[in-house]
């Protein structure tokens, strides 16, 4: 009897001890930190364009970096309503709801291209309303595609769809740069036999000369207010940074470096400053100059060569840095110059350009003799290759938000 009681007591104690044994065994749930889940389980979809809309929407939501699609039926953010895609048209009437709020959204378009862009606009609206951030889905990326010695300016949607190639040029063009409204691409072309800056409509059509003075015309970059073009010109007898005004026809010199050359200007979001490359110190480095006072300040000190700056919407400057024998993308605080590498080790990464969310960066990665385009994330998501057919591509430039 005593022995049975002892067994019973031991059993009770064992059972009592069991929960703490359970707690001592770690129970790990795989979860991306900080990403809210989105569910479209309640969205009624019909027709081919409806299906296309939903597929593009899901990809845009994931690519924003802020969300992931819910695997079960429920998510922190619920999208319901309908996407009616019969007959090639797409009519949407959608409700998006989450703990803190919600909104209604709808549109009617025709054709597949417009169906994709409906998805892009809705994805960006979700990012704006839920996170208070600018989305990147309704945007485009311009770049140079090389073909032997020649090449062409190209443009595609932020997901790689809608690839369009401009005029094939016998000597590869350089440095595409979007106008603030995305309607024009400024770039350097050799079709006249020497480097000239042209502006070509993003939708194709007649291009206009921007700077075609004898000598060097390159680095065409339009200011955020659209009124000025930064450019590297050489009429002083040396390549120097200028700002030209297409209305007054005046060229204002910003740099004075008889032994050094400038390259790759880009504007700050407020249009008051320009980041650019100068090798006045002996090696190419990143400088920032105030477009009024013309006093340059060196930004980069790490790495042996620092080139290709891009100024992001939140004020950080990305550029390509040669360090430890390879090329990496770094992001710098313009006030302190402190820089952080944001590209993975083990490859050469070049030509960064910020997405309008101030978080993602499109750049090129060298793969042997050719380069491909990738999107990096400064918040820690893995790099994603831009989905395009095989090609040798570099110098990508991300547009601002488009209609």
């Amino acid at each position: 009897m005593l022995r049975n009681t002892a067994v019973a007591i031991i059993a009770v104690l064992a059972i009592a001890a069991a929960p703490s044994l359970k707690a001592a065994t770690p129970f790990v749930v795989e979860k991306s930190i900080g990403k809210e889940t989105v569910s479209i389980a309640s969205l009624q979809v019909s027709g081919d364009t409806g299906g296309l809309f939903v597929n593009v929407l899901k990809q845009d939501i994931a690519r924003s970096g802020w969300f992931e699609m819910a695997t079960g039926g429920y998510g922190g953010i619920e999208i319901s309503g309908r996407a009616d895609g019969r007959g090639g048209a797409l009519s949407t009437s959608v409700q998006v709801r989450w703990g803190g709020g919600g909104f209604a959204w709808g549109d009617t378009t025709s054709g597949n291209v417009e169906a994709r862009w409906q998805a892009h606009r809705l994805a960006d609206e979700i990012v704006r309303r839920v996170k208070g951030r600018q989305g990147i889905a309704a945007t485009r990326i311009a770049f140079v595609e090389k073909n032997g010695a020649g090449g062409a300016i190209c443009i595609c949607d932020s997901d790689g769809a809608g690839l369009q190639k401009f005029h094939a040029e016998a000597v590869s063009p350089l440095s595409p740069y979007f106008s603030p409204d995305g309607a024009t691409i400024y770039y350097t072309s050799f079709t006249r036999g020497y480097p000239c800056i042209f502006g070509v409509p993003s939708k194709g059509g007649q291009r206009a000369p921007i700077a075609n003075f004898t000598g060097l015309n390159t680095g065409g970059a339009v200011s955020p207010d659209g009124k000025l073009v930064a450019a590297v010109l050489s009429h002083p007898g040396n390549p120097e940074l200028f700002v030209i005004n297409r209305v007054t026809k005046k060229a204002t010199r910003l740099t004075r470096t008889p032994r050094g050359a400038e390259a790759s200007p880009c504007w700050s979001p407020d249009g008051n400053r320009i980041a650019y490359v100068s090798d006045e110190s002996g090696t190419p480095q990143i400088y920032v100059i105030d477009s009024e006072q013309k006093t340059p300040a060196r930004l980069s000190y790490d790495g042996s060569q620092n080139v290709a700056p891009s100024w992001g919407a939140d004020g950080r400057i990305a550029y390509c840095s040669k360090r430890d024998g390879g090329y990496a993308i770094v992001v710098a605080n313009p006030a302190t110059g402190e820089s952080t590498v944001v590209s993975p080790a083990g490859a050469d990464w070049e030509d960064p350009s910020w997405a309008p969310d101030g978080r993602h960066i499109v750049c090129s990665r060298r793969d042997g003799r050719t380069c491909s385009l990738w999107v990096l994330d400064t918040e820690g998501d893995k790099p994603v290759k831009l989905s395009l057919p095989f090609g040798d591509r570099r110098s990508p430039e991300w547009s601002g938000p488009l209609r």
């Binding site: 809608g162 194709g204 000598g215 040396n238 570099r394």
Partner: protein
């Protein structure tokens, strides 16, 4: 012919038009055509000097001189300094310009493939200008010499490695009358 053959013929013709257009004016996405049209050369003023900036490169208004050629001037890595051994070629160019008062010269500057394409465009221009400045010290008037750069975009030698790089870091001479 009957309707289906006619439709097939149109389809084949359409594909042929698209295929023929791929490398040239129009591509199969329709955005490719670039038409420069007629545009006048605009004049800008340098705000500081009051000088006019115009675009009249010699090769747009003159014909090439084909019976003269000088070997390219070669440069060191990431440099636009003129090595002493190269000055003799520039002297040759100065002599040709002195003997032919109607000749003008375009010096083009080039780089090897290493480094950013944009930065190399500026470096190529510095190389061309270094040759131009040297010609000036040899008595040639600066308005007879224009510079242009191709950066790394027009290599003399395809391929990689020290020898290809050396042959691509160059300034070339092209005379016009």
């Amino acid at each position: 012919m009957n309707i289906s053959t006619y439709k097939a013929a149109i389809a084949i013709a359409a594909v042929a038009v698209l295929a023929a257009g791929c490398g040239g004016k129009k591509n199969n996405n329709g955005a490719g055509a670039i038409d420069d049209g007629e545009y006048g050369l605009e004049t800008y003023t340098d705000e500081e000097t009051g000088l006019a900036l115009t675009g009249l490169p010699f090769d747009q208004t003159r014909t090439p001189v084909t019976d003269v050629s000088i070997a390219p001037v070669y440069f060191g890595y990431d440099s636009f300094q003129l090595p002493g051994a190269e000055i003799a070629k520039i002297q040759q160019a100065a002599d040709i310009l002195r003997l032919n008062p109607g000749y003008v010269l375009i010096v083009s500057g080039h780089c090897d493939e290493r480094g950013s394409n944009e930065y190399n465009l500026s470096l190529g221009e510095q190389r061309a200008l270094a040759v131009r400045n040297c010609l000036s010290t040899l008595g040639v008037s600066l308005d007879r010499v224009q510079s242009r750069s191709f950066g790394e975009e027009r290599p003399a030698v395809q391929g990689t490695g020290e020898e290809a790089w050396r042959l691509n870091r160059r300034g070339e001479f092209a005379f016009y009358r």
